[in-house]
Symmetry: C2
Subunit: 455 residues, 2 copies
């Protein structure tokens, strides 16, 4: 047997005890979120009606670079963490690249993705504050599954509004949520005013994340002891996800390497921020020349082709206004299989970091992501989530550049989840029936033009 | 954070370098398999037309207790091994039991089950002997998925005959096999004489494992450089699976414990033998008083209600005659969701060990297994395969006995796989539409009576 090590684990007492809050170290702080009606900057207190208080403070915290992970959350992290850092020898050989490719395997979480890192934290804080019920929205269901399990762990009731078309087309993930004991409702539903408003106009409406958010927020605001929780975009979600990069930093050291590039797929920013921010602090503070690459779908290119402007987080304009790279909150992403990347805007921290040149972004056509996912499955064994395949595709592009130049660059990417519930997508790719969706310049221009009317 | 350790891993250089062959240590050796036509004892050479030669010798080896794991196989084991040994604190708390419950988590293999441990070994030996193509049958698809990936790893072409009803009802696992590059054919098919014989009589035949075995064996015997591989029942398969128990033994030592009971679900015996045999050697050699419990479905109770007799491995009577606990090779198990346990007979090593009192067996109704699986999902996070839930149910029975007596017994069970591709089964259970299937004494008696005519 070769002596080369394939996977790197931390002992349980080496699992990080704090999350990293990059806001405290940013040279240019993010602009404040604004009240959607008054356009006044929000304070943490303004968010109390919706979120657990501790999460509101984490959201706004620009002072403390390190936030203690509660013991109860660390105890649950031990159920699946540390996740392995894996040297992708199989993929390297398949590509014939001199690059050293590593991936952090978040797909080993019991719910199949990194989403659990924040779900456990959010459920814990809710429990601490005497909250009994949590509610959220989900599309394909990765976040909904994570929240359902986390709620069960901390003895909370969970109500999940799942976009109706996913509820019907991806029954496996709905079943997973129900297996953990969550109440799952197809959205739009008749259980909220927001849902009724949609259904009375359009009884066959198939739902959208925007509508599902409105339903979940409404339920939280009209139910005693019930709070809303969110799986991406917000600062506190990315904060919790930094456990990924903090572990990876220690594990890369075990491997005796430091990444030249850190790559992750990009939807709202939670898995990208999670793996990138801990490494980025050395770029901000010590000038370390690491490249950070966010891989987004060509069909939803907010980072590569959007504008940096205040915009709403949801379709209906109920949320605070956030300073973000956006395609406009009424941009309707094509129905690609990477459902977790179908979002019009980027989180405000990442938007500022991109604007300031600390990171870069690439957009990747759907067919290239599936080609990459298939090569990864055959060479590393793990069938990746369609979202994660964007990171793999970006990694392959860089690894092939190294093949041309002969450079032994060190690439780290985050495998945010597995694709076992997404096999119909692979079926379509193998059958040659997947198409690439192009977004025209006119469509982008038309959408972002509407933002000028907001503020 | 509590200091108690949740999961135990081995370093890669601590992964066992040899498999354990219990045949060498058995006081009463298994009776020989017999030629189906002549009824003469078989030699290893007699199996050469079907299996790779090395596997034929492993099958018959009653001399060597330890078989070296080839370096190339160990290199691939490092892709997912060691699998974690997990202390089930969550399940213990949910039960309120003083028992210490551990499980070996084989569900973290990239294909989702323990099956890969033998698939990699079999594919490797085929490659070594110049074989270019392998073929097998699969029901629900756990074995087929493992073999498809293992074939890809070692550069072999894989042809899998999947029982037609599963091919149509469980498309996700078919897609997984195709993603790894395997050719998957619904059985019965028109590509073999065996398939044609069935289809010309019954064009709507939904297939069976027996028919699929016949098709795969026929393909192997009529194709140059093509061998047949099997995922359970045979001695060499259980041999490869002993990596599970050998790792677990080291990991239990890290936890400072030794099991009073070792529990696994039982189909043909590969995961049971895999986890149990390494511990059982201390019972055989040193008289260590560990209980070994095989958990089988009430609807397919070969160990608890079958007879010990020579029988065929397949429905059509093409395979060698094996000395086994059996319900008769024409026993038609009910269509329970634990497809991997729907087999009429037990491997010959296990049959002899059960006869000699080294192990015991329990049969468990389907509804009890799903109740156990649901409790496990909620308390440990992992949604178990319906097969594995039999082991969980048996574990819960024993843990509740400990609760009554106050005994702190140490229980180790094998979590053979996850249930993410089996969510329709959970759906049915949650909807209350799962039924328990009883096998009558008359049915068992009628089936086993036919065995007297064979030999």
């Amino acid at each position: 047997m070769s002596n080369r090590q394939k996977r790197f684990f931390l002992q349980e007492d080496e699992i990080p005890r704090q999350w990293y809050n990059i806001q405290a170290d940013m040279v240019t702080k993010p602009l404040p979120p604004l009240h959607p009606g008054t356009h006044q900057p929000l304070k943490a207190e303004d968010l109390y009606p919706i979120f657990a208080k501790e999460l509101c403070h984490q959201e706004m915290d620009q002072e403390h670079a390190w936030i203690d992970i509660p013991d109860e959350v660390r105890d649950m992290y031990k159920y699946y963490r540390s996740t392995p850092l894996v040297r992708a020898y199989g993929l390297e050989a398949a590509l014939g690249t001199p690059a050293h490719i590593y991936f952090k395997n978040e797909s080993v979480s019991p719910v199949g993705s990194h989403k659990l890192n924040s779900a456990l934290a959010q459920a814990y804080y809710c429990k601490q504050e005497g909250i009994t019920n949590v509610t959220t929205e989900t599309g394909a269901g990765q976040w909904g599954a994570a929240l359902s399990y986390a709620a069960k762990v901390f003895g909370l009731e969970a109500a999940v509004y799942q976009v109706k078309i996913s509820y019907e087309q991806k029954p496996y993930r709905r079943s997973i949520m129900q297996t953990y004991g969550a109440q799952v409702t197809a959205s739009p539903s008749m259980s909220t005013r927001a849902g009724k408003d949609v259904l009375t106009v359009d009884p066959n409406n198939q739902g959208s994340l925007g509508t599902a958010i409105s339903e979940a927020v409404e339920l939280a605001m009209t139910t005693p002891n019930c709070k809303y929780v969110l799986g991406s975009v917000l600062n506190h979600v990315a904060l919790h996800q930094t456990i990924i990069g903090l572990e990876a930093e220690k594990q890369m050291a075990m491997a005796g390497e430091y990444p030249d590039m850190v790559i992750a797929c990009f939807g709202g920013g939670s898995n990208f921020g999670g793996v990138a921010f801990p490494f980025m602090r050395h770029k901000i503070k010590d000038g370390k020349q690491t490249r950070f690459i966010a891989a987004e779908p060509s069909s939803c290119p907010k980072l590569t082709r959007g504008v940096f402007q205040y915009d709403f987080g949801d379709l209906s304009g109920l949320t605070p206004l956030l300073p973000m790279y956006t395609l406009g909150h009424n941009f309707m992403p094509a129905n690609i299989h990477a459902g977790g990347l179908r979002y019009h805007g980027a989180g405000m921290i990442i938007s500022q970091l991109l604007k300031d040149g600390y990171m870069e972004a690439v957009d990747i056509p759907q067919s290239e992501t599936f080609k990459a996912g298939l090569l990864f499955a055959k060479s590393e064994g793990i069938i990746p989530a369609p979202e994660s395949s964007h990171a793999i595709a970006a990694t392959i592009r860089e690894a092939l550049k190294c093949k041309e130049t002969g450079e032994e660059k060190v690439i780290l990417f985050n495998l945010s989840g597995h694709g076992l519930i997404d096999m119909t997508a692979y079926d379509q790719y193998l059958a040659g029936s997947l198409t690439d969706i192009e977004v025209t310049d006119e469509e982008v221009a038309r959408n972002v033009a509407q933002l000028d009317k907001i503020i």
